[in-house]
């Protein structure tokens, strides 16, 4: 189904910290179509600075009291000029929102366990995935690493869904001190006979470590990548990343990128089988 492009009004922009905010957008059509792991392209409407939209995983699909979908939110981390402008948006401001785009996660069901591994802003695709996994009654754990305790967000949201939390911080302020891959490897050593599906989103070195760990313990793994992206539709060839030659996932029109092993993460991803990627 083609994406929709709407001028979406900001419903809320909840600042979670100095750098993070959850930007909620009135975009019911986008919300209704979104599947976990898909993304939207967003920028403030009607300006040439920034000129291009930036890609964001859909964080939440928003609903009103009656349960009707009213929009989507994104988890924004202030990093550059564009994300700074999004951080500063106020209720009533308007953004250009194109989506949903890209390949979603493949949710699993019981008895397979679902292990979501998030690093920092890489939490973004896991709220919708968690809802989907909870609905499927898959036993689910969130391994969630951040720099500090203050940058661990939305823990209540996941707990309410019955998801087990394993937290790590780099400074040891909460949970296990160190990287999220530590507890993940411990869990992989003790994985049950039904196996686990590992979903990961975060910095690429983390994704590489998680994909390699999953492979070492013979568990399936999907990673959501983030690359500098121009258009989100396969037009510009900016967001490519290297995949193994065996990769044959269909892209637009059923025509893959063929032998070339740089594929566009916007239409062949952003979710990839961790075993298909070539780590640089």
């Amino acid at each position: 189904m083609p994406p929709v492009d709407i001028d979406a009004t900001v419903i809320a922009n909840a600042r979670l910290s100095r750098d993070y905010s959850v930007l909620s957008l009135a975009a019911p059509e986008v919300g209704r179509r979104t599947r976990p792991g898909q993304f939207v392209m967003v920028k403030p409407a009607g300006v040439t600075d920034p000129l291009l939209r930036r890609p964001f995983s859909v964080f939440e699909v928003l609903r009103n009291a009656a349960g009707d979908v009213t929009g989507v939110s994104i988890l924004n981390k202030r990093a550059g000029r564009s994300t700074k402008k999004l951080y500063e948006l106020e209720v009533g401001d308007v953004v250009s929102c194109l989506g949903p785009l890209g390949v979603p996660f493949k949710p699993v069901g019981p008895p397979v366990e679902a292990w979501m591994v998030a690093g920092g802003v890489g939490l973004a695709p896991f709220a919708t995935l968690a809802e989907s996994l909870a609905a499927a009654k898959a036993p689910t754990t969130l391994f969630y690493g951040a720099r500090t305790a203050e940058e661990l967000f939305y823990l209540d949201f996941f707990e309410k869904l019955g998801i087990k939390l394993v937290l790590t911080t780099e400074d040891g302020g909460r949970g296990v001190k160190g990287r999220v891959t530590g507890p993940l490897e411990a869990a992989l050593k003790g994985v049950g006979p039904a196996g686990a599906m590992v979903y990961a989103c975060g910095p690429e070195p983390m994704l590489e470590a998680v994909a390699k760990l999953a492979a070492r313990y013979n568990q399936r793994c999907e990673v959501s990548v983030e690359r500098v992206m121009g258009c989100g539709l396969g037009g510009c060839y900016s967001c490519v990343l290297p995949v193994k030659p065996t990769f044959a996932k269909a892209t637009v029109g059923g025509h893959g990128d063929g032998h070339a092993n740089l594929v566009r993460s916007c239409i062949s991803g952003p979710v990839f089988d961790g075993a298909e990627l070539v780590w640089e």
């Binding site: 492009d5 600075d49 037009g235 990343l241 029109g253």
Partner: protein, 313 residues
């Protein structure tokens, strides 16, 4: 009033309207089929194609700059044979008028790629890429030399019955002399401009923002320079000009036509707004109605250089 006539003629080629999707900004066209009916465009220019597949440059390949972007994709592409086999039939089925952007590392390669396309079903024209600023071998060496431009156009013209449209680089002192060289060599039209050679530095790390260091600047930032170059060429050559550079809406497209463009290409704006096409088309019709223009081709080159009236605050 009758329905406005948006058709334009490029040599032997008649397009239903002057709006063409620019090479490198529209994938192979098929990527955009889900958001726009390709048959409603005047034409679609493919990504640049060599004989063989090309991997392109390692990412990051783009960086945003004020009202523009710098890219060095490096002509990642599937090669002409796969294009003809896998993409062209689908473009024909979609009703697209397909211009193929032809690249070469040597003069022979331009000729060979063009020959392959001449035998294919449904190619409207060849756009000769002699202006990509991002690859070392080929292309720009022809586009930055008057004799090189003449030689490659002349050789390709001999090898094909298709209209040949060299795409010119703005990274020369006098682009109009290159348009003249192309015309003298038998080009059916010229398209201009390709991107402006540019760079951006990350001041925190003191390193380039993109892997290739240098890239091509596109987007609204370049539009006034591109308009000037189209006007310069229009005054020097008789063959049709396809103008481009930062077009975002109908007003921009008309500006290029007034400066002398017969048709225009929209590139970077596809990334900004993939639903741009019907908006520009409607805008053209609206302009024609407001200005009582029956045929859009009547606008070509009608720029009036009389100084504007003084504006007082």
């Amino acid at each position: 009033m009758m329905a406005p006539d948006l058709s334009v003629t490029l040599g032997t080629l008649t397009l239903p309207n002057p709006l063409i999707a620019a090479s490198g900004c529209f994938g192979y066209g098929l990527e955009y089929e889900q958001v726009v009916d390709l048959s409603t465009l005047g034409g679609v220019v493919s990504k640049g194609l060599f004989m063989k597949e090309r991997q392109g440059h390692p990412p990051p390949r783009i960086v945003e700059t004020p009202a523009g972007m710098i890219n060095a994709i490096g002509l990642q592409g599937i090669g002409v044979h796969r294009f003809v086999k896998e993409k062209l039939p689908l473009l024909n089925k979609a009703g697209a008028r397909t211009f193929v952007n032809v690249c070469g590392t040597t003069l022979d390669e331009y000729v060979e790629v063009s020959k392959v396309l001449s035998q294919a079903e449904g190619v409207a024209a060849i756009e000769l890429n002699i202006s990509c600023p991002n690859i070392k071998e080929g292309g720009i060496q022809f586009g930055c030399s008057l004799t090189g431009t003449h030689d490659v156009v002349s050789a390709v013209k001999k090898a094909t019955h298709l209209p040949v449209i060299p795409k010119l680089t703005p990274n020369v002192t006098d682009v109009a002399s290159f348009a003249r060289a192309a015309e003298d060599a038998g080009a059916d039209a010229v398209s201009l401009v390709n991107t402006f050679l540019a760079m951006a530095i990350d001041v925190e790390t003191r390193r380039p923002k993109i892997t290739n260091v240098l890239g091509g600047l596109s987007g609204p930032a370049i539009r006034p320079i591109a308009v000037r170059m189209v006007w310069e060429c229009y005054q020097l050559v008789k063959i049709p000009i396809i103008g481009m550079g930062g077009i975002t809406d109908a007003r921009d497209a008309i500006e290029f036509m007034l400066a002398g463009a017969t048709a225009v290409q929209i590139g970077t704006q596809n990334f900004v707004d993939p639903f741009v096409w019907p908006k520009v088309l409607d805008g053209l019709k609206d302009y024609m109605t407001r200005h009582n223009v029956a045929k859009i081709s009547d606008l070509i080159g009608t720029f009036d250089p009389t100084p504007p009236k003084p504006v007082h605050a």
